[in-house]
Amino acid sequence: MQTQEYQWDITLGLKTSLFEEQRNKQLAKRRIYTVVWIVLFAAAFLFSLVIGDVTMEKILNLPAAWNYLKETIPILRMNSLGYDVGVWYARGDIWVGHLVDTILIAFLATFLSVIFAFVISFPASRNLIRSTSVFFLCRRILDIARAVPEMVYALLFVFAFSLGPLPGVLAIAVHSTGSLGKLFSEVNESISMEDVEGIKSTGGNWVQTIWFGVVPQVLPNYISYTILRLEWNIRAATVVGLVGAGGIGMELMTAIRQFQFKQISAITIMIILLVFFLDWVSEKLRHQLIGGEKLI
């Protein structure tokens, strides 16, 4: 009896020491990773502080930002509220016009980009095109269109087309052609090929195959992506004006550059309300498309 207990204790001890050994090994491995992470992180942090021009003086100056924001709060008195709001939104009618322009810029840009993305997305889908070179060419065009930010396009187009909404429309259109085209071609690549084979077997040419075999399958996804993109493009349209490409951004730029504090808050509130409204509409619309009957 005693010997048995003794033996049992030995094996338990062996097992425990084995376990401990394994655990220590894993902990050591983990410690190495922790040290590597910390070193990399510290290096990046110090580098950023130096290059990023973060000085104590600038950090201590941050309350100035608070004062700046306080300046933008309008004077609203209870007994003359209507008059005060009237003063605050003295240029309200002009701003509403620019806000409408902003939405129209985004709409036109989305409209153009849907057409281009629709056309390019089919040759950019691996399952719909036999020629590898055409496929790669279309994919690269979409990649390049997508990779350059809207604001860079806006700067270049403002130079070529002069100030106004047109460069804004084109800048947003080019960028979102890239994004939508990529999304569309990914949708195309996930379709069931049976319909396509069916159209092909009746002797349909490439365009007919796409139109009758692919489009009915992908259209709901296209519409949902387009609505999301329209929402994104309206947000983009509020800022392309900062470089002179039309819309409410141009007014905001002028207000900020001229230190018209009350106007800054007035325009910003209009933009925020537009964005809120947009979120709401886009959500409703997409829910209706998902849940409701087939509308288009």
Binding site: G52, V54, A147, V148, A160, P167, V169, I256, I271
Partner: protein, 286 residues
Amino acid sequence: MIQTKNINRDLITEMEILVPEAFHIPEKQRRYRFITISGIVILTVISLWKLQINPFTIFFGIGKFFQMVMMFFPPTHGGWISEFIYAMGETLAMAFLGTLFGFLFAVPLGFLAAKNIIPSTIIHIVLRRFFDVIRGINTLIWALMFVNVAGLGPFAGIMAIIITDTATLAKLFAESIENVDTSQIDGAKSTGAGPIQIIRYAFIPQVLPIMLSNVLYFFESNVRAASILGILGAGGIGMQLYDRIRIMNWPQVFFIIIMILITVAVIDTISKEIRKAIVANPEYRP
């Protein structure tokens, strides 16, 4: 021959009666389609008229644009390479510090705005609306305001990124905290854990991977944002780009654009690898 045709036609008529929707679009759907298409056409005409876009401006503009693009080649740095690299460093520093501090501020705010941590409806609604308002103002607009406050340079860009990222990340964090598996909370509670211990042992292990992978996504998107913030004077490569466009030095403009594209691609790849490592293997986590 003629007979076969007739048989086919009979078959077709029969099928048309049996399954009419295979031959005609239903009335309701046709009406919706008509309304949608005519709405789009009308809106397009209104936009073209309201925005005063006419074929002449487009035509001349395209001509001028292609002239410009011709001058893009060959892209050169014109001896400014070290300045460009320094500016790119500024851009990366802005993105890094902006994301880091945005994350640090967003974690406590995210916990405060989560319904299952703070059960007060008022705090929940006020915080969420506050985040929405901040997010409603674009980073570029924040940058413009901070340039007025802190002067030209990367600091304004860092602050702009911190502000918008704090609000956006806090919202995402609050949502992921609200979606945690409650059984782990019960488990921690059953061992007699206090509120801080519950957060440490039941919430953090569940939400940390989501938080980290979100932060990496935000770093990528901030590198893109930081590369254009300079256009408005907030430091980084965008400032150089804007200067080159103003003096019409097109080869250098093209060089900077290529630099931005390469940097963004490299950062995306690195961040994708880190995200894979962090999310897949807990042992690589710090």
